[in-house]
Symmetry: C2
Subunit: 397 residues, 2 copies
């Protein structure tokens, strides 16, 4: 029989990155297309210990239904930690656990936007969030970026040009896919725009703790005096991605609505992972653990960049990130980016993600591609980047 789907999902497709990842099933292909944490970044011994202790001491806690808002000791820990970081204002915020940062971003859109309302975002931006927003049939409008973040003039123009602008979605730290970090001046300026034009900022910060160079920039949430910033983050890059344990700090009325929507979405997030995350965060030397992760990613990023600096055609430009997982390379305008990426995977057996996977509109033109350094081993980075460098020289020089 023929199936008729709802308008909001009928045009929705699986992430284009998934198509690229199909090629990576070929064991000969070296993939720089993923976004997974390095396997050595997971504190697997400590997690195994904590889990064993939990099953010995309180197995029913790990197995029974729990409450939608999340495991209370984990919420209390996070409220304290986020307060220290300026990301939780006890006088007006609340904080709950979500099934990854993904759920926090999706439900923020669900509770605030009607079909047709406008959601602004950086262009390009993270495909997982873009598709979440698309799945509610909102008017998704991208605003070009500069090296230090979103273009403020174009942002204000977009606010004026679109109806019912409700949310501005931003990834200020080590943005996916560009690796760029928004300057403090711009963070202040976008917050002022939000106040002036009365919209909410959805600040997605999955990589904030993974800064391995440069100096820390305050979050937009830390500038929030009016209660108009939703701050979402996750343990995916700090403890385990497979846990699906994230969190969202936002004004209490918004959190109340997100709780109702989370209750109907999945009742609560896996409780074993919440308890393990709480015990991990409160029993390890956190800074030592984060420093270990920063060392891993700094080394991998530097290794990959050294091949770009020393081997790539000089016609390619790129952003050197100060943290996170991604490098953004841009080909000269004369080069067909899609043809380049297809040739890379089919002839050279190197998978990268074509930049238009992160486009806001289907006909946005991109000359860029995204490289990931966290998933491949150092050996794979050396071998793969050597091949890719040769390819860029053969094609462009």
């Amino acid at each position: 029989m023929e199936y008729k789907f709802s308008d909001k999902v009928s045009k929705l497709h699986a992430s284009a990155i998934r198509e690229i990842l199909k090629f990576t099933a070929d064991p000969e292909v070296i993939s720089f297309a993923a976004g997974n944490p390095a396997p050595e970044a997971f504190p697997k011994e400590r997690i195994a210990e904590i889990s064993a202790e939990l099953f010995r001491d309180d197995p029913i806690l790990a197995l029974q239904y729990s409450i939608t808002e999340g495991y209370t000791p984990l919420r209390d820990f996070l409220k304290g930690w986020m307060k220290e970081k300026g990301c939780f204002h006890p006088e007006f915020d609340d904080l709950i656990i979500t099934s990854g940062g993904q759920q926090a971003n999706e439900l923020s859109c669900k509770v605030l936007l009607n079909e047709g309302d406008t959601l602004l975002c950086e262009s390009p931006s993270f495909i997982g969030s873009l598709n979440a927003f698309r799945s509610y049939n909102v008017n998704l409008v991208g605003v070009d970026m500069e090296d230090d973040g979103i273009d403020l003039e174009k942002l204000e123009a977009a606010v004026k040009a679109n109806k019912n602008v409700k949310i501005l979605y931003l990834i200020p730290n080590f943005q996916n896919p560009t690796g760029r970090t928004m300057s403090l001046a711009k963070r202040k300026a976008v917050y002022e725009l939000a106040c002036r034009y009365d919209f909410i900022i959805l600040e997605d910060d999955p990589y904030g703790e993974l800064r391995f160079a440069g100096t820390n920039v305050p979050t937009i949430k830390s500038l929030d005096t009016e209660g108009r910033v939703i701050y979402s983050s996750t343990f995916s890059k700090l403890i385990s991605s497979g846990f699906r344990t994230g969190y969202v700090s936002a004004p209490a009325p918004i959190i109340q609505k997100i709780v109702v929507c989370k209750q109907v979405a999945d009742v609560h997030s896996n409780i074993w992972a919440q308890v393990v995350s709480h015990r991990f965060m409160t029993t390890v030397d956190r800074e030592a653990h984060f420093n270990k992760l920063r060392d891993i990613y700094r080394e991998k990023c530097d290794l990959m960049c050294s091949y770009i600096d020393n081997g790539f055609s000089k016609k390619i430009t790129y952003t050197k990130p100060e943290g996170g997982l991604f490098i953004w390379c841009t080909l000269p305008d004369s080069c067909d980016m899609n043809a380049f990426c297809t040739k890379a995977v089919q002839e050279y057996k190197i998978a990268v993600v074509p930049g238009n996977s992160f486009s806001i509109k289907e006909d946005d033109v991109s000359h860029s591609f995204r490289l990931n350094y966290s998933t491949p081993t150092n050996e794979q980075i050396k071998k793969g980047m050597d091949i890719l460098a040769r390819m860029t020289r053969d094609m462009l020089d």
Copy 2:
């Protein structure tokens, strides 16, 4: 500041049961209001063993990102098991893992219904699903039930009276809240109606394996020849509720859309719980495990029913379930049900769920309340039911 929410969530409230559960924080209150599995029903020793083995053999599998569709060995196991049970038709169905049965039901609504489209359901029905449907602003229409399931004449009338009837949502086995089981004749008849009037049946079967009396009735999915049944179930009552591991078997085009929506909802379900569930289901004597659960619930149900039979006012009628977790009691029309439930918890310290918590429309009148026997201990059942019986006699006789 004032927050404006989307139309679909602005009228959505947290489950009324949660309000009742607040009273149960009082340690003096005996609660028959929950819906949690009995703690002794969780196979905690085997789960602890499997988890320890997993962290020893393949920790990264339990910690890294995984695919949206779910852990492939678990999907393959379920396809085989569901095929045996007639709930997976390899010629047109596909099957994926979801974050509990809740997610399967919510996403089925999201992919198929526009705002204003009609979703029919039994009246009363499971509040978690009702709120999921409400969160998409659909036209939710309840159809009265008889002892053997939904009223067929009223169902056909509702199909004719409403526009764009897309889904009929049913819990055919040991329905929540009524404990009723739909007869085979009615299952066949609703399937025929679905074919004649071209709508989809969403069959929610969380309790199917928990039959402790009577004989098994084939699922509606097992009658599906045209590919118009979505079948959802879960390990919440068989292994662990805290896992949030469910599954959905449905025609492949519907599964494809659900996968896209699941990807934007939570990327994938907690992978540790998926692997543990797979290893549990494929290494234990399943029938022996299910029989143990059936014994637990039969004993608890019989115990609770003995107090109704021997102690309750004869003016109260009830359905004796053949499985599942709930008993549905109905007061005489002259009795104010809400006043009864309030008095029960405030004066007698016994929490039950008022029947209108499961109403489809706000002004539906209910004279019933729901009792749960799975969560309280046998001692709590004895003590609490004795008090409740006395209350019914004092009030009604």
